[in-house]
Symmetry: C2
Subunit: 220 residues, 2 copies
DNA sequence: TAACTTTTTTAGACAAATCAAAAAATAATT
DNA sequence: AATTATTTTTTGATTTGTCTAAAAAAGTTA
């Protein structure tokens, strides 16, 4: 099985993420949007990825990732998330500063490097956004999660991840004090606009729009 | 001033290293040898580097690095050596395992990353081979050095660097116990073949061929 | 100096990754 | 169903980095 180029790895990762997001078949436009490249470039790349048999590509009907492709994508995701842990825990990067750099670091090809990095970081199971880090075989220990907006009134939980991890969103969360790991309780849900009132760490009460709450994942 | 691509950075680094090695003008063949590419590819790259004004390129007469080029090369070298320190000190890599990986890591472009890495490593001044790490302005604090083979009998010194840092050479040094930082004393010099007998850390006596001793640098 | 050797460059090709513009296929709407 | 709109692919170009084979320049030697 041939190796993937860095660009191919990036595309495959994006395809994996989109297809995990519930949709069955991933469209060219979706990929183009996430990759910030033109649809024409995507078509070209899909042909190549199809030839390497990491995706199943039927023209005009989008793509499905193969088992091989999934394995490879998870390897890249593993590397990406380990580097994120490194950047945040060791180099004091903030949540929203890690993405770009990790996108570059994830393509460094050295098995030993990743093994040692993993060990050095104490075999972390989650990245700074709370997303799980696949093991070297691509297995993920997933925890059950629910969007904060779907929580019932008076239930408690712990913030474990965010869906939207854009810089602006992460900054906003940090500002209001809703960090990963925070124990929260849903105090009230406003029917009118779907916004919520939550208690953070039994100390602070904060309000969140439905939009924001929908992007915060909670473990019960 | 335009940015350099990773490949351009690598070529420039090699050109810098060769031109520091005493020679005035760097030849296409020298570069081709170090880069493991064909002379034709080198000619092509030299044209591009010339256009970006990081080297002065006169066809058929080799190249000289410009001041701008020197600055850029030193930045790459700084990154390379910082990563080497990281790999050896934090991830327990051995001397001879760091090169390839550092050659990839050195191209990651993030100023913050390098600043923080530097800080995290405690602002090291030398890499694991004893070579000095340029500061962020490209300044190097160089120490006076001499090849072990040029040392006078009965003088003492400290091993601070190696010229040849090939995997085989580094392994050999490690094996005989001549590590970077070792305090040594030259006990005897054999006129016949130029080999030397040295005392390491006042404990162990070892022999070295002229060839090996010529590649070990000592600070008096 | 003339002939030979070595080094370097040029010319032409190719793969990867991108784009813009045009064409084709699919989807939506009247 | 026919037309319109959207999505996707194709075509042709460009840049980067590499190669082989051929040509040109420089260096060496008889």
């Amino acid at each position: 099985m041939k190796q993937l180029t860095p660009a191919e790895e990036s595309y495959l990762k994006v395809i994996y993420h989109i297809s995990e997001g519930g949709k069955r078949s991933v469209s060219t436009n979706d990929i183009s949007f996430k990759m910030k490249t033109k649809p024409a470039s995507v078509s070209d790349m899909l042909r190549r990825l199809g030839e390497k048999e990491v995706i199943e590509y039927r023209k005009y009907y989008g793509v499905n990732i193969t088992e091989t492709g999934k394995k490879l994508a998870l390897q890249t995701i593993r590397k990406h998330r380990l580097w994120e842990v490194f950047l945040v825990e060791k180099l004091r990067f903030s949540w929203d500063e890690v993405h770009e750099v990790a996108d570059e670091l994830e393509h460094i090809r050295s098995k030993l490097l990743i093994q040692r990095l993993d060990e050095y970081l104490g075999f972390p199971k989650f990245d700074p956004h709370g997303d799980p880090i696949p093991d070297e075989f691509g297995d993920v220990r997933a925890r059950p999660r629910v969007a904060l907006s779907d929580l019932e009134v008076n239930t408690t939980g712990q913030i474990v991840a965010v869906k939207d991890s854009s810089a602006a969103f992460l900054r906003y969360l940090d500002k209001v004090g809703a960090y990963i790991g925070a124990r929260i309780k849903l105090l009230e849900k406003v029917e009118f606009d779907g916004s919520v009132e939550i208690l953070v760490d039994n100390k602070k009460t904060i309000f969140m729009s439905k939009d924001v709450a929908g992007n915060v994942l909670v473990m019960l």
